[in-house]
């Protein structure tokens, strides 16, 4: 029997690994996750794939101190909404910083991390998390 969840994970690989969304060429609005139709331009819209640069700022965040089982090893950790430079927002963990040092407006960039595992013998889900821009991210 096929393992539950594999197809859903596989379908999102490009979005999760490379922050691949799309943009409407007509109104220059970026979307993540990718949308099938531009909600503004509708029929006049023209969507094309777009890989986000992975840079942005923390719009808001929360420190998680009571986590689901899959995330217990990481407690306490920060989950944030990030406003990407292209204008869209997404939700992701913030890593490589102590939770008490995270601030709204902080510049961050996407890094590649393990998101979760489907148990000991199941698939491993990888994707984006964000870290502060610093010397080792090539930003100082």
């Amino acid at each position: 029997m096929a393992e539950q969840g594999v197809a859903q994970v596989w379908r999102r690989i490009r979005s999760m690994y490379r922050i691949e969304g799309n943009k409407c060429v007509t109104c220059d609005t970026h979307f993540f996750p990718p949308r099938p139709v531009c909600p503004e331009c509708r029929r006049k819209g023209n969507l094309e794939n777009y890989t986000f640069k992975g840079l942005g700022s923390i719009y808001t965040f929360s420190i998680v101190r009571q986590a689901p089982d899959d995330f217990k090893r990481q407690m306490p950790y920060v989950i944030a909404q990030i406003e990407l430079d292209e204008g869209t927002r997404l939700t992701a963990q913030i890593v490589n910083i102590d939770p008490e040092d995270v601030e709204i407006g902080m510049r961050v960039r996407a890094c590649f991390r393990k998101i979760k595992e489907f148990g000991h013998g199941g698939i491993i889900v990888y994707g984006y998390k964000f870290e502060p821009t610093m010397k080792v991210t090539g930003h100082e």
């Binding site: 217990k72 990481q74 590649f112 991390r113 393990k114 491993i124 990888y126 991210t137």
Partner: protein, 347 residues
């Protein structure tokens, strides 16, 4: 000539001091770390593994090269801690860095020299014009049984080398290998931690193979120690490469710059490659580098490398090995045990 057209490394943020590990096992003298020549080691975060480390190193390598990842025809990841027993790490890396699907990919294993074995294969594919560009990665989140000597050095990190013919940052003139069946260190299928032959890992294993690889390369290239500016040997600890250098008559100052093991520990498949990256970060064009990687089991891969002028314009674009060494946050043994899944109740 075939050469390195881009390279990048990644070392996780966390460190544990070897004195902290020793104290847990009842040694407060500080002798163990000093004896091994390893003062702290890198520890992967709870959401880091060989796939994530490899992706970060590979992205740095591509950024430095300024080449299109779509031109990569082969990608190999060498490690002894691949996240899956069956499903190549390379597939994850290739997708994450934006390679096309028209490429070949596989995972390599040869203890600590799996990454340099991958370099040799990529060199062959490039030289035979089967591919234009290939990537070889050496990356590990090394395992050490709690309380075992390995726990003081088994670290995490990775290095990625992009190999091609056009405008290399460093040319690889020659490579040779030396291989025997020597059971100095192994891990059986399904085992969490490796086993080793303790003192047997020295003379008949590391020293014999590194020496044979080095002598074979000297002979093939008709060179001597005097022809090289820098030496890089695999670094299972801080002691072995220095002893090896002494046996081969290498002046200490030609070896010193590569000894990243003191600050980050043994990054296994990333070890010698990390040392090479450290040298490429600082070497002047025209410098000659002699590298011998060692893998238990056992074998060695030796490389003769010349730094080219192109390296200077590629510096400053991506973080150096030293940038990663300096970026650190210390954790205590309890946090280390939590991150490394030594607390079994957490699954």
């Amino acid at each position: 000539m075939v050469g390195i057209v881009g390279y990048g490394v990644y070392v996780p943020r966390y460190r544990i001091k070897t004195t902290d590990i020793a104290e847990v096992w009842g040694d407060t003298s500080g002798r163990i770390g000093k004896g091994l020549g390893v003062f702290e080691k890198s520890v992967p975060g709870p959401d880091e593994d060989v796939a994530t480390i490899s992706v970060e190193a590979a992205r740095n390598a591509i950024k430095r090269s300024d080449l299109d990842p779509k031109d990569i025809g082969a990608l190999y990841v060498g490690s002894e801690s691949h996240p899956y027993a069956v499903k190549p790490t390379g597939t994850i890396v290739a997708e994450a860095i934006g390679c096309t699907h028209d490429m070949t990919c596989a995972d390599f294993e040869f203890a600590c020299k799996a990454g340099t074995a991958a370099m040799q294969v990529v060199m062959g594919l490039v030289q035979s014009k089967m591919i234009k560009l290939g990537m070889a990665i050496g990356s590990d989140t090394a395992q050490g049984r709690p309380g075992d000597a390995l726990e003081y050095s088994a670290a995490a990190g990775g290095a990625a080398f992009l190999i091609g013919m056009k405008n290399p940052l460093a040319t690889i003139e020659e490579t040779v290998s030396f291989t025997t069946d020597t059971p100095d260190f192994w891990r059986r299928e399904g085992e969490d931690f490796p086993s080793h032959g303790a003192r047997f890992t020295g003379e008949p294993a590391y020293f014999r193979h590194v020496k044979a690889g080095a002598e074979s390369l000297f002979k093939k290239t008709k060179t001597t120690v005097d022809d090289y500016d820098y030496f890089v040997f695999h670094m299972p600890n801080g002691k072995f490469p220095i002893a090896m250098g002494r046996q081969l008559g290498v002046p200490k100052e030609k070896l010193e710059e590569s000894l990243v093991v003191r600050q980050i520990g043994n990054t296994y498949s990333g070890s010698a490659m990390m040392g090479l990256a450290r040298i490429l970060d600082i070497a002047k064009p025209g410098s000659k580098i002699f590298m011998v990687a060692y893998g238990s089991g056992a074998g060695s891969d030796a490389f003769s490398i010349t730094v080219e002028d192109a390296i200077e314009e590629r510096r400053g674009q991506v973080p150096t090995v030293d940038d990663y060494i300096e970026r650190k946050t210390y954790v205590d043994y309890a946090t280390y045990a939590k991150f490394r899944r030594k607390i079994k109740a957490l699954g």
